[in-house]
Symmetry: C2
Subunit: 248 residues, 2 copies
């Protein structure tokens, strides 16, 4: 079964490359738009094994160029552009620049998680299960667990926290509280320490995404089953008190 | 000034089309990866005036194929693929399928808003101001304000609500409460009425995005300035009580 899937995947990879060339030829002959439109919609795209460490390093650097969502998306998509080529080459690496700070500072979904979800959407049939597994890991793991090999903070031990939520403002606030105790002085949202935390977090998430993709496509990944209320997969109790009637 | 910008835009449009052909030719000559990678990163892409009503109708239909984020993203990107062509043709219209239900049912950022933010990122230098303006409109307007011209619900008046938040689960829950009073019976999250609400909402958002883009590129758009706490642009009081010490 596993083998068959890999065989199919390889066939798809070859076909994908043919499609890539088809699109190119189509456009240069002047009738490419309909052709390209049809072909680029055939998700998921082929995936090849990537190096989690290399991607993490790029995501860390990417954070300082365009924040969290850009860091995660560009670090993975750029590797796929080099290793697979088309159809990834048609996707602008900066498309997730907007995701920083939970979408342009709105504090909604963590930008690293938003970009990661898009990567799964591009590369996996089971993207919803991949998202559940990643988000559950994110809200229960002590993060950031990535240590940069260079930069001003590389030799320093760094405080970690458990976010309990995929939301940016919740995740950041919990870390700031832990960091304030750790450093014995206020660590506000607008500080170099908090930026460095989000740079490392972007690297942690990008590495986890690649590890998961490698296992999903070339090994055996176990999905995490997430509890779901009627309206959300987030844990209501993190933000809401339960009333006596048992309703949120 | 306005005229100059339009001139520049037209020049960029022409150059963009040249780049599109360049990418195509590059790939067919076998050295397209580096070329494509470089060129597709030059955001924003050229924008041409779109028809808000046409896009809204497509977003409404799109919702029933792939939920809110897919509905909004594909309705706009597909029009740009037809009217501009490259470099939009390289972007898979299904890339935001994952955004449904606030990212795969997690209830975080409304998928229509997530996709809309990506569209601004692709087409506007001022994408953060565009996002602020749209999100502020979304959380204060009575929505959905789109009425479909066909389908089982087209002739029915439909309840509207004010979300007060860009978060999916908050937005949905507020509408369900209003709808429950309106219909004099429970309207749960998992109901056809709620799905129809989100289909209409996707159309409302897609239409607003195109109206904003048309004004931004070919008229005069006034941005909305949003109040910002340290960690988020959302209104803290919507979810959190303020303690006696004035902290959230």
């Amino acid at each position: 079964m596993e083998k068959e899937e890999n065989m199919d995947r390889r066939k798809f990879l070859k076909d994908g490359l043919k499609i890539g060339i088809g699109i190119a030829a189509g456009i240069s002959m002047g009738n490419g738009i309909a052709l390209a439109k049809k072909n680029v919609e055939e998700l998921p795209y082929p995936y090849v094994k990537l190096d989690p460490k290399k991607v993490a390093d790029k995501a860390y650097e990417g954070y300082y160029k365009g924040e969290c969502a850009y860091g995660v998306f560009s670090s993975i998509i750029d590797e796929l552009k080099v290793k697979v080529g088309a159809p990834y080459t048609g996707i602008p690496s900066e498309i997730f620049h907007y995701g920083g700070g939970g979408v342009a500072g709105w504090g909604t979904v963590c930008g690293a998680l938003n970009a990661a979800a898009a990567i799964f959407n591009l590369t996996c049939k089971d993207f919803k299960k991949m998202i559940d597994t990643l988000y559950q890991w994110y809200q229960t793991a002590e993060l950031p667990d990535y240590v940069p090999s260079q930069g001003p903070f590389c030799k320093q031990p760094y405080p970690k926290s458990v976010s309990q939520s995929p939301l940016c403002h919740v995740s950041v606030q919990r870390w700031c509280k832990v960091a304030t105790i750790y450093y014995k002085e206020d660590v506000p949202y607008k500080s170099k320490r908090r930026s460095e935390r989000c740079a490392r977090l972007s690297a942690s998430v990008a590495r986890k995404v690649v590890e998961m993709l490698n296992e999903y496509h070339f090994g055996k990944l176990s999905f995490t089953k997430v509890k779901e209320s009627e309206k959300t997969k987030m844990d209501c109790k993190i933000c809401h008190e339960i009333t006596m009637k048992g309703k949120v």
